[in-house]
């Protein structure tokens, strides 16, 4: 199975997801207070917090992709979880 986001050129679906989530995140974030001697830009800081969240979630999804697929496979197809999948993930 092909992991998502491993091929930046052909992964249009992945990009659409990133765009959508980023756009949603832009309008829903709060950021922490930062102090800087240069003006980091309030808008830029809030935006960065949003994409950091998206990127963080991306990393989380990528590193746990097999487990997620296994769980969803079990839910939608009614198969019992494949015990081999976890072993393959661990040995990666």
């Amino acid at each position: 199975m092909k992991l998502p986001h491993t091929d930046g050129r052909s992964d249009v679906g992945g990009k659409l997801v990133v765009v959508t989530v980023a756009l949603l995140a832009i309008f829903s974030v709060e950021t922490e207070h930062v102090y800087a001697y240069i003006d980091p830009g309030t808008g830029s800081l809030l935006y960065q917090t949003a994409i950091a969240t998206v990127l963080g979630v991306g990393i989380l999804l990528r590193s746990n992709w097999r487990s997620i697929v296994r769980v969803f496979g079990a839910v939608f197809k009614g198969h019992p979880p494949d015990p081999g999948a976890k072993a393959r993930t661990d040995s990666k």
Binding site: K15, E32, H33, A36, Y37, I38, Y47, I51, T53, G56
Partner: protein, 461 residues
């Protein structure tokens, strides 16, 4: 006693500033910067970064009697041989500087510190490698987003993306914006197809939208100390994403001049090798400490100097040539060559606040030696600059000059004059010598074997 004039490019940071005294540059650390400076040392980060060739090394001189009450100590950094500015760099130089900045930030975060700005001018090329020269740019790592993010995108990603996806010449717009290319401006200039590329999409296009849409949101109250995790982890994700974005950017050089030597329309092979051995011989005799090669092309003559250990700045207006020189020097690990994009008919001006943040080209000289080979006709005939003005310019940038006179019957000059009136009556060997003799003493004069071009070695009067 340590008083000296401040270097104005460094006045923004309350943690300290650079000053110059008797030609030596020092960095004053104020009490406001003491804690971060001590952390830089105690965390081992200074050691790590200087050993990796990412941060300029310095000696801490201690507080040497200063009239300024905010001063805590004075550092004497390793001196940078020649200060260059990002708009003078070729694509790969800016790209390497960007990657160096991200690598410094990555290592800093691992040591509990972070860059508090990401100004491209904080990077200088020393021994052929990009080096952070602002020791006070590193501060304690705190939770929350990276404060250098916007600056990084404006100073590095935007000009690189413009060069890569639109037109290489657009990377020079950074000369117009002292704090980097505005993101909405870059976003508008980039082709629509870049909305489908993750790096430009996330860090330029959507960043520009986000900046505009979120600018007037009230800043929330200070975060509680429990949010440590959101700090480092989220910063790391952003830094990793920026690195991927920079690494994917490419630019393939092209240009009319870079095949010049290969074509050699203007030279017989004999005259060419004679010119090369003359320059090599004179250089070997003089062994100057610094040399500027004006119109360096692919740097063939600069190589003669750097092979002798002469610190050489090779200027050319063709970014393709500069790119090629840089990539080649990087491959050879040549520590003496600094290639830069410079149009001699419009050299870099003094810029920034009160014209003092960035020095003009002439202010950064003079060099001990100037090479001006096969360039006179471009200035005098191609650009209608009178010979006396060329001589005065050469006098202002160097103490000794090796210059080649290119006569009117040279094929290149004939091509230049083919479709225009010859309004250059003084342009012949006699006129050239009499005018340049007002400013220089002619030490050597050798007619090249093809019988047309003449090579001179001159000393400033």
């Amino acid at each position: 006693m340590m008083m000296g004039h401040g270097v104005s490019g460094s006045f923004r940071d309350p943690a300290g500033h650079v000053f110059c005294r008797e030609g030596i540059y020092y960095r004053q650390v104020n009490h406001a910067g003491r804690e971060d400076y001590e952390r830089l040392q105690s965390s081992g980060l200074y050691e790590t970064l200087t050993a990796a060739g990412l941060l300029i090394p310095h000696d801490n001189l201690g507080l040497v009697d200063t009239a300024e009450p905010e001063a805590w100590t004075v550092l004497r950094p390793r001196q940078v041989p020649f200060i260059s500015y990002p708009h003078e760099w070729a694509f790969s130089q800016l790209r390497d500087a960007a990657l160096a900045t991200l690598e410094i930030q990555r290592r800093a975060m691992a040591a509990g510190m972070s860059l508090k700005d990401a100004n491209a001018a904080n990077i200088q090329f020393v021994d052929g490698r990009p080096l952070l020269i602002d020791t006070l740019s590193l501060e304690r790592l705190t939770a929350g987003p990276w404060v250098g993010y916007r600056q990084f995108c404006q100073h590095f990603l935007a000009p690189l993306a413009l060069a890569s996806f639109s037109d290489q010449r657009l990377s020079r717009v950074s000369q117009l914006f002292v704090d980097g290319v505005p993101l909405d401006f870059a976003s508008r200039l980039l082709p629509l197809s870049t909305w489908l590329r993750r790096g430009p999409l996330l860090h330029l296009h959507l960043h520009a939208v986000g900046e505009r849409r979120l600018a007037h949101r009230p800043s929330p109250a200070p975060a509680p100390a429990t949010s440590r995790a959101t700090g480092a982890d989220l910063k790391e994700a952003v830094i990793a994403s920026l690195r991927r974005a920079v690494q994917r950017l490419r630019w393939q050089p092209d240009g009319a001049w870079k095949d010049y030597y290969e074509r050699r329309e203007s030279y017989t092979a004999d005259a060419d090798s004679q010119k090369q051995s003359l320059v090599a011989e004179w250089l070997d005799r003089a062994r100057p400490a610094t040399l500027w090669d004006l119109g360096a092309n692919t740097g063939r003559f600069s190589r003669l100097a750097t092979d002798l250990g002469v610190r050489t700045v090779a200027f050319d207006q063709d970014a393709s040539c500069v790119e090629r020189m840089y990539v080649d020097a990087r491959q050879r690990k040549d520590p003496y060559l600094l290639p830069l994009v410079m149009d001699l008919t419009n050299p870099s001006p003094a810029m920034g606040w009160a014209h003092e943040e960035r020095a003009s080209l002439i202010q950064r000289g003079p060099a001990e030696w100037v090479l001006a080979l096969a360039i006179l006709h471009h200035l005098a005939i191609g650009n209608n600059v009178p010979l006396d003005r060329i001589a005065r310019f050469m006098r202002s940038v160097g103490r000794e000059l090796v210059i080649e006179f290119v006569p009117k019957d040279d094929p290149m000059v004939r091509a230049m004059l083919a479709s225009r009136a010859d309004v250059f009556p003084e342009y012949d060997v006699r006129g050239f010598e009499s005018i340049f003799s007002r400013h220089f003493l002619i030490e050597r004069r050798v007619e090249l074997r093809d019988g047309a071009r003449v090579l001179y070695w001159m000393r400033a009067r």
